[in-house]
């Protein structure tokens, strides 16, 4: 059952991610990315991490993706324009193929490097699903990082307002 769920969620995540980068309409890309995030939340549940799964749904699929949807609808650019001919060799078909080759190479390398990493250590049986344990880790051992996060979000909020402001001149 576990194995079946893993392969089902993994296949959905990979297919949805491929479709996100594979088609031209940004609106469909955002919707498909939400599907991919849902599959990842399922994987987190399989990994004994219900807190992270719920955060994934609420913060990522709920908040961040709605932000993306707002911007896609605000700007209203349904299709990306093809590269103008002769601008640069990097934008032509050769450059595109080179980029695809590079990322394929990266994928092969990462998979190859990670493939035998997990075997050496026996699986721990300690439970990691307790929200209380996560809370005490965040608020005791990582308290400084948590407080720094609040400053980061404040700066990001002010920065976003300043950057997107319409200039009156």
């Amino acid at each position: 059952m576990d194995v079946f769920a893993f392969y089902a969620f993994g296949a959905v995540a990979i297919l949805a991610s491929l479709l996100v980068i594979g088609q031209g309409n940004p609106m469909h890309s955002v919707m498909l990315l939400i599907v991919s995030f849902g599959a990842l939340a399922g994987l987190y549940v399989l990994l004994d991490a219900p807190f992270t799964a719920v955060t994934q749904i609420i913060v990522y699929a709920g908040a961040i993706m709605v932000l993306f949807l707002f911007v896609v609808m605000l700007l209203n650019v349904p299709r990306e324009e093809p590269a103008p001919p002769g601008v640069s060799a990097l934008l032509g078909p050769t450059g595109t193929r080179l980029g695809a080759l590079l990322s394929l190479l990266l994928g092969v390398e990462i998979v190859w490097a990670l493939a035998d990493m997990g075997i050496r250590r026996p699986e721990s049986t300690a439970s990691v699903s307790s929200v209380a344990l996560i809370g005490s880790a965040i608020f005791l051992r990582h308290a400084f990082a948590f407080e720094a996060t609040s400053v980061l979000i404040l700066v990001a909020m002010i920065g976003a307002v300043v950057l997107a402001r319409r200039e009156h001149s």
């Binding site: 980068i21 990322s103 998979v111 990670l114 493939a115 439970s127 990582h142 990001a156 909020m157």
Partner: protein, 100 residues
């Protein structure tokens, strides 16, 4: 029984898909979405390794990564809106003034 390797391979594949999106797409919004895919691949690695080591630190760092991703999305989208207002396009090829 699903091993740690399967999760690591899955997140490696997702990361490579994200990189391919950054390389191949000519739409700033899709590039940002690809970066989100990469961040999520790394999150999956953290949670999987944390689970198999029996420690909650993987989930804690995932929490922080999500916070930073939210900040990054807000700033990135604000930049995209500002850029679109300037040039009326979302193609990264239009914004090369800083390129040497």
């Amino acid at each position: 029984m699903v091993t740690l390797n399967s999760y690591l391979v899955l997140s490696g594949l997702l990361f490579a898909i994200g990189t391919a999106g950054v390389f191949l797409r000519r739409n700033l919004i899709t590039v940002l979405l690809s970066i989100e895919i990469m961040l999520n691949a790394v999150n999956l690695t953290f949670v999987a390794v944390g689970r198999f080591r029996g420690s909650v630190d993987g989930q804690v760092i995932t929490f922080f990564v999500m916070t930073v991703a939210a900040a990054e999305a807000a700033i990135g989208l604000a930049l995209i809106i500002a850029l679109f207002r300037h040039r009326e396009t979302l193609s990264p090829d239009a914004f090369t003034s800083l390129k040497w």
